[in-house]
Subunit: 358 residues, 4 copies
């Protein structure tokens, strides 16, 4: 297969490295407006071809697919052109900058029967897949809430705020684990350095039947924290991505509710403090698995785990969060919820696709 | 001085232990409705007197003061009776269950010229006082935001939610450090085990000129976390109360904004990664200092650091948070803001009292 | 029962507190040469009796037992006098300052049929007992080695070096777990502040059939570390006594040796990296359990878990370590090894007593 | 310059990667007996040349230097041949398998006036260089002792024990910091899996005037620990190489000795507990710096920081440790101590070379 990576700035080189090492790729083209970035890529990987603008690739008939790692606002126009030309498209998270454009890409991909995949990398980590297995096995019980912290002294993005930059990871993890999209979103944050670009924020996702998820993101925290706490009726699980050895800990801790109790009498809960278990997590580069999954989906004509709908769901939530920020934290409904929870038939992660596209 | 501690349940015994060991106290009466608790106190401290209801103490002419550690809803009626009788009153946090009742107690204490103090214990810790000094010295620069996490598998309170239980600590620390009350409050949470009693919540305090504080509280987290992150324009500070040796770390990290920049050109921030410094913190029991402060204020006729106004401010914020919870996280103005920020003359912690009461 | 605690300095007050709270004790006498210490004890525990020298207690006919918490060199003469008078004796670790004196006390206790117990506190912790159970269950496999680190910026003892101060804990834990005494001991250390009083040292215990234990002790380490690593053929266990929540971790890690291999071919080991499990440890004060065990042994006429022989074994190893220090680390045989490994009949911890004494 | 890397197994590829990326290298030859390793190198770095045995490289006239990363016992014969042919030689640690062979290589390099460098990588880390600066500044005071722990579940080496595998790092760090070689060495360990190949050991280095260093190494520890504690008369320093953010911590802790005291009176020390400071450490790959240093030394005709004498010193200590192991931990003099402490003129790290070779 022949692929082009568009955008060789911050993230693109990681995609290039993985596609270069893939035995499914026979030709890789690096595309960037900046000749210096192209020269750098060539020096690292002498076998790559170069292109100084993506338009010249549109007419390349033997190009199978593109991977887009450009600024978020350009995802939609670039992807649209390549999908229109019948290319398979991989887009870095978030899929696009708005619900409408995201949905339009999904529709276009379905119409063209091409793979549209979004780079929700954490869905390809061994840790998140292990958590998914644990949750699905019922060991945790019914999930009550999820709390995520993803902060560090991080690079400010020029065009998107900290929620659009960091929360896609948290949101995609939460949706993957719960297999459900939230009904509404609240978000509160502040832009301290650049007007309109919030650098710290807390976002709340409200699901039906009382499940809630909290996401705290910051570009201004001295400590790097990447922690997800999942509280269930039976057990509690903490996923700490910074921890080298014990990324997942399952706590046999919790609250035991008496089977029934006299409403006039005092309400008594008992607390359970038990063992802690840390399952071994396989060690691999998730991006390698993600890139390979994209290529495999093209070969087999199947929908990826993090398909376009997955991208739409995340963008819908990001858009609602942005709206809530402008409304002083007021609750905002997520768009297209019905669509969001429509079940796809073949990706097996709780969401089933709206229609099989092949 | 003669003191009575009313309520010998969970927290009262800590007050009793400290007052028993104080050389300012010549007589201590333990008061509880439950005879078993009274017997237990007598066995631990044979010198104490006992009382099975607080009413009998109201008429005790030589009683100087009471310390109230009963359920929150009873703080107001009990305190009101003792203040009316001209006793000095110490109340465990939060001061009362509503802004109106809290303010009424403050007015009554002023009228009676008696000390009214609330048990915001953290204002008496060496760590928080060290942080206050550091912030006031200008080392951190202007504070941009504060983020607090106070979670663990905690005992459910029968009558108050997790915000009223845990956030008073965070709020009193934040207000003490900033010397300012917030304009509005947002809060989002869920009650998973008992209707109306939220067991997990995130609260946001919005201050004027863009400062924001985030507070995450839970009774359902497998890890005990008590962390406060203060991000300033010059440095960042993390206060981790669980850490035995390095409770405070000051990070010479941050974002350097160029003095001016062409608005048409790209916005460039530079990042600073520097040394980390952990000042030595004195080792003492804050409750001992708090109890002694109450007695000293009585002796000297001065207003305590955590005076009634301090209590009112915290209660006002808690009440706003509760209201926001009922409004799906909508922003709620804090009551009596003008009063809240009125400056007192003698307590030296940024807030000055509404009027000197002696 | 009536008991006297001799020595109210650093450790004695902990014994006093526990005996005061015991319902098995009707009268407790505090004994110290320093009147100020006695006054302090009286102010903390008004019910205690006082004695300004231990000789006056020797003739007290209704005194059942004494607990000795004086400087190490005085353990032997004081204990000898009380045993001679037919009192049960508890001695803080180490039992005495030499093998010969330690053994003499054991013989005397046997002759007088009195309880002689040494304060090897860690044998009464929930963690060490849990480890003992795990090891005995065979889960760890055969133990290959044990490595202990017990360091901090610690108070220098005026009369004993860091090995005699800290290593008794490590040695008693190791012997309790292995159920076996070492054949020989090596020790290397230095005295930086007071001639002859080593403040840092490493001691190695050599057991038969290749088991080895390493003990590193220091009074001069900036970090407080109390870690014991037990490496077995099947699993590895780490006991970190500083850790509040996960004191014991069992690692399903190890080396798998092929069942047989051609000695001419390359030697291949495979490595196993598996789950980590942290069992819940009960939460209680070990000293309370220890004090109660002493009183129970008196009541029931049975030998304590940490009996005199246990004390002799530890002293024998300490003495060998001191000798090795003087011989530049040369290997020194432990004295009385045969005796050390004689099996007692009733204490159930792998060592059986030389003779039942009642 | 043209270089060959001999040995493309475990460590060689790291050298190859760094030399390939160096702009000082115009031709790199990979040499290994195993064709599969050569093919692998060619696939990673298409520009490299290949050689299936090192003998064919001996006669290559334009080859400037070789880097040897073969099993330890082969270091000496291979290096000897290349030095004899007038090539500059870099050897992975330890330099050779014995003091005599190591010294012979040094003499040969001096005679041939060629660079002989040993890969003591840690001398090229930012952290160790920072520590060296701190110690040399006098901030720590006079060093009293150094304690090193370097353990993990590590790959067994087929031909060398855990001391020869791991301790060269600790020893080279200790010698670099102290600028002095030890007088004698003690070592105690056990071989649990392969006769004669110790998998766990503790080694003690005894310096003149009472300084001592402890090194604990294991291939069988479930936790990866790389910690060096340096205790000085003024401050204490901990270097934790696992820590991502605070690799070095300086503790203003210590023991204050009174200026004089009556020897008949009690000996009183006071303890100082102060601030903790963690200096920022530059972030770079030490191996890159090491490889570049080798090439720079060739270009400038100067002796490297980790020159042959540095290699001899480490090997002398390893040899003494091995001898001590066979003597049940008895103290063994280091060979050639006088030579070891001879000062070189130009490498500026405390050791001065025996003779300037150019």
């Amino acid at each position: 297969m022949k692929i082009a990576v568009i955008g060789c700035g911050y993230w693109g080189p990681n995609l290039i490295r993985n596609f270069v090492q893939s035995n499914k790729i026979e030709e890789l083209t690096c595309c960037d407006l900046d000749q210096k970035r192209l020269d750098r890529m060539k020096s690292l990987y002498p076998s790559v071809k170069l292109a100084s603008n993506y338009e010249e690739l549109l007419q390349k008939p033997d190009l199978d697919s593109v991977a887009i790692a450009t600024p978020v606002k350009t995802h939609y126009p670039i992807a649209k052109e390549f999908l229109s030309e019948g290319k398979h498209v991989f887009i870095e998270k978030p899929l696009t900058h708005s619900f409408d454009t995201a949905l339009e890409l999904v529709k276009l991909a379905e119409e063209k029967q091409k793979v549209l995949m979004v780079g929700h990398t954490f869905e390809y980590t061994a840790a998140v897949n292990k958590i998914k297995d644990i949750v699905d096995s019922g060991e945790i019980g019914k999930i009550l809430y999820i709390s995520c912290t993803r902060v560090n002294l991080g690079l400010f993005q020029p065009d998107i705020n900290v929620i659009w930059d960091l929360a896609p990871h948290d949101i995609s993890i939460i949706l993957y684990i719960l297999g459900e999209a939230p009904v509404s979103v609240n978000s509160q944050g502040r832009a301290h350095f650049k007007a309109g670009i919030e650098d710290v924020a807390t976002t709340t996702l409200n699901f039906k039947d009382g499940v809630i998820a909290f996401i705290h993101n910051s570009w201004l925290d001295p400590n790097k924290i990447r922690r997800t706490t999942i509280v269930g009726t039976k057990k509690m699980l903490v996923y700490d991505d910074i921890e080298p050895q014990e990324k997942i800990k399952i706590f046999d801790k919790g609250v035991d509710v008496p089977p029934y109790y006299d409403t006039f009498a005092e309400f008594h809960l008992s607390y359970r403090y038990g063992d802690i278990h840390s399952p071994r997590i396989e060690d691999y580069e998730p991006l390698k698995k993600e890139c390979d999954h994209f290529l495999t989906c093209i070969q087999n004509g199947v929908s990826p785990l993090s398909d376009g709908y997955s991208g739409v769901r995340v963008v819908s939530i990001l858009e609602a969060a942005s709206k809530s920020l402008r409304l002083s934290g007021r609750s905002v409904q997520t768009q297209g919820l019905k669509l969001l929870n429509k079940k796809s038939k073949n990706n097996g992660n709780g969401f089933l696709m709206a229609s099989s596209w092949r």
